[in-house]
């Protein structure tokens, strides 16, 4: 299938920049956790960077994102600043949520990161509401819900896709199919040959793409965005990918076929895209190295900032429960 849209040179470089940021951030996170400098449940997204990086270049800061516990890549690609991120996952006061949300509930409305949920499937019903608001306000914003392959089996998925379709909402349902839900393989949990097949049941466009191919991903997502902005309703995108570090960082991969994992890691999209950019002349090696160096420098700064920042006062335990109570 030919891609409908192709990112131009600067966009390709921007996609790469976001991929580098995401990859660097994941590696740094695992390092900091492994070193014991920070304690948190960490759901590594390493291997899935292309999906949000190549998709969200087609969004504006005003567009909405509802993501999940495995969603830090989504948020960064949507523009969540590193310092706010790191202070939050370290539980510190200057974190986006004053340390009260943590890695599973990061929120940053300034860049449209509206909800991060720890409940499987629950990003979708809320994204519809944001999309409904756009439709009411006629402001052209789209709402993206990301979720996993496992989440495509839960009731909230079904209700959300149906409502989005009958209401013609500008919601984009972005399924990141990494082949597993926790330790359970796709085939053992999901009856659909492919998640994209389910779109037929909602009379909406559904497409399976290679989520590790920035060009395919860019095109499919941009199509969905244009459709949403044009008032033509929702799209279901199933982006095929793989999580390199299992479900939660530190679990052992006993449930996984080692060969499957090895093959996936050898097909790491990051070096592949990097190489392609240089070979096609879109970017020079030096340019890309500079991007990567900048990521590392920014990470140094963010991590230091976060780990030196204070925790919120204990009275914060009781604030933000209600808006009208001190």
């Amino acid at each position: 299938m030919k891609n409908t849209f192709t990112p131009d040179g600067p966009t390709q470089i921007e996609i790469f920049r976001r991929m580098a940021l995401l990859k660097g951030n994941d590696e740094r996170s695992r390092k900091v956790v492994t070193a014991g400098r920070l304690v948190m449940p960490y759901y590594s997204y390493r291997g899935q960077e292309v999906i949000p990086a190549a998709s969200f270049v087609s969004l504006t800061d005003q567009d909405y994102l509802c993501t999940i516990y495995r969603g830090i890549h989504d948020m960064l690609a949507k523009g969540l600043p590193l310092k706010d991120l790191w202070a939050e996952i370290a539980g510190r006061e200057p974190g986006t949520c004053k340390g009260k949300g943590g890695p599973m509930h990061l929120t940053y409305p300034k860049r449209g990161v509206m909800v991060t949920t720890g409940v499987v499937g629950s990003s979708m019903p809320i994204a519809n509401g944001l999309a409904w608001a756009s439709q009411l306000s006629k402001d052209g914003r789209v709402a993206v819900a990301t979720f996993g392959d496992g989440a495509s089996n839960i009731g909230a998925f079904h209700e959300s896709l149906n409502l989005a379709s009958v209401w013609k909402l500008p919601t984009i349902f972005l399924c990141q199919n990494n082949g597993y839900g926790e330790h359970t393989k796709y085939e053992k949990a999901t009856s659909a040959k492919q998640v994209a097949d389910r779109a037929i049941g909602y009379n909406m466009p559904g497409v399976r793409v290679n989520g590790n191919d920035p060009f395919e991903m860019y095109s499919a997502f941009r199509e969905a965005v244009e459709r949403a902005r044009a008032g033509e309703g929702p799209t279901l995108i199933e982006a095929m990918t793989f999580r390199f570090n299992g479900h939660v960082f530190g679990d052992n991969d006993a449930y996984m076929d080692p060969a499957e994992k090895k093959a996936a890691m050898e097909a790491d999209p990051y070096p592949a895209f990097r190489k392609k950019l240089v070979e096609s002349g879109v970017a020079t090696e030096a340019q890309l190295a500079e991007i990567e160096a900048k990521v590392e420098a920014d990470l140094d700064e963010a991590v230091n900032f976060a780990l030196e920042a204070p925790f919120a006062d204990l009275k914060e335990v009781m604030t933000d429960v209600y808006g009208d109570v001190a």
């Binding site: 949520c97 509206m114 629950s122 509401g129 409904w132 009411l136 959300s160 933000d320 808006g323």
Partner: protein, 333 residues
């Protein structure tokens, strides 16, 4: 003072009026739920009749039967500045949407460190009396009251139905709005346009000296209906209609118990782990050593709601039981 006969309205009419007034005043107020728009009849009981015709189907929108999606859509729209009123037809069906209500609506403000909030109203009907049996009549307000981040209100009068609905729509946080079907159609003094009943403030439904009876929703009327029998027995009860269950008006209850020295609670929900327990525990702690009688809780028995008419009737607390309990507490066995 002039002795004008006050205008009458039912709770149902007053709710409808509250929706219309709020939608008229603020275009951010929107409505969604099963059958709520006029092509679908304006709600199964007509509570939302006329709204879609007047304000457009985009602002009063019928949904599929899909409670998770309904509450989710309300939450999402509220995050973007709207003030949605979502109808979950019956309280038992809130169970289908419980993740959206408890894990999301209630918590997004907190988990985001105050960056976002969820100013939605979830209205839901309930109450035994129509032979709808085990899955259509339960009172679950104690669940919602146990959930930090939610508010819970349950009016018993037309004025408060209006006033609490307006206050709930104004409120910056999610409010569970409990409507009791058996008192939907009773004519009562009509609300004034624009009236607000503050959330968290109780109402003294009847003043008295010997015992404080704390109640809410339909049971307020059954408690008031018990006053005559109490009076005949020489018992003067102060009836407090809580109106709000979370938060509940401790000050009003304390002031009353200070005066009466006795307290009992009345609700239709089953007794164990019900709202009465929180009130009784709080009052007992506060008035340790000062109460003239133990605090009793009148409530439905610990069972699902049965279908058969005599059983259903026996299930719900009635005025006689309320009166007997109050008299026993005041006069001794």
């Amino acid at each position: 003072m002039s002795e004008q006969k006050p205008a009458q309205a039912t709770i149902l009419q007053s709710l409808n009026q509250a929706f219309a007034d709020a939608m008229e005043e603020d275009e951010k107020v929107v409505m969604l739920g099963e059958d709520v728009a006029d092509p679908e009849g304006g709600g199964v009981t007509g509570a939302t009749k006329g709204l879609s015709t007047r304000f457009g189907e985009h602002r009063c929108r019928s949904t599929p039967i899909t409670e998770q999606a309904i509450v989710g859509a309300a939450i999402g729209a509220s995050l973007a500045g709207y003030k949605p009123i979502a109808e979950i037809m019956l309280m038992n069906f809130t169970t289908v949407a419980m993740d959206m209500i408890f894990n999301h609506a209630a918590k997004l403000r907190y988990m985001s460190g105050g960056q976002t909030n969820v100013p939605i109203v979830i209205r839901t009907m309930t109450g035994a009396g129509f032979g709808t049996a085990g899955q259509h009549s339960d009172f679950l307000e104690a669940w919602f009251a146990h959930a930090a981040g939610l508010k819970v209100v349950a009016p018993s009068t037309a004025e408060d139905a209006y006033g609490l609905m307006r206050a709930a729509i104004d409120d910056p946080d999610p409010v569970i709005f409990v409507e009791n079907m058996p008192i939907y159609w009773t004519p009562m003094p009509a609300p004034k346009k624009g009236h607000r009943t503050p959330i968290g403030k109780a109402r003294i439904a009847a003043p008295g000296d010997d015992i404080t009876i704390v109640t809410y929703s339909g049971m307020t009327h059954r408690t008031l209906g018990a006053l005559e029998a109490m009076k005949a027995a020489g018992v003067s009860a102060e009836v407090i209609d809580l109106r709000s269950i979370q938060p509940w008006d401790q000050e009003a209850v304390f002031n009353s118990v200070e005066k009466t020295g006795r307290c009992m609670t009345v609700h239709e929900a089953v007794k164990p782990f019900g709202v009465g327990a929180e009130i009784a525990a709080t009052v007992a702690e506060r008035f340790h050593g000062k109460l003239k009688a133990p605090i009793e809780r009148v409530a439905s028995p610990f069972a699902p709601v049965p279908f058969a008419k005599p059983l259903e009737t026996a299930f719900v607390p009635d005025s006689q039981r309320i009166a007997e309990t109050a008299i026993r507490l005041v006069k001794g066995k």
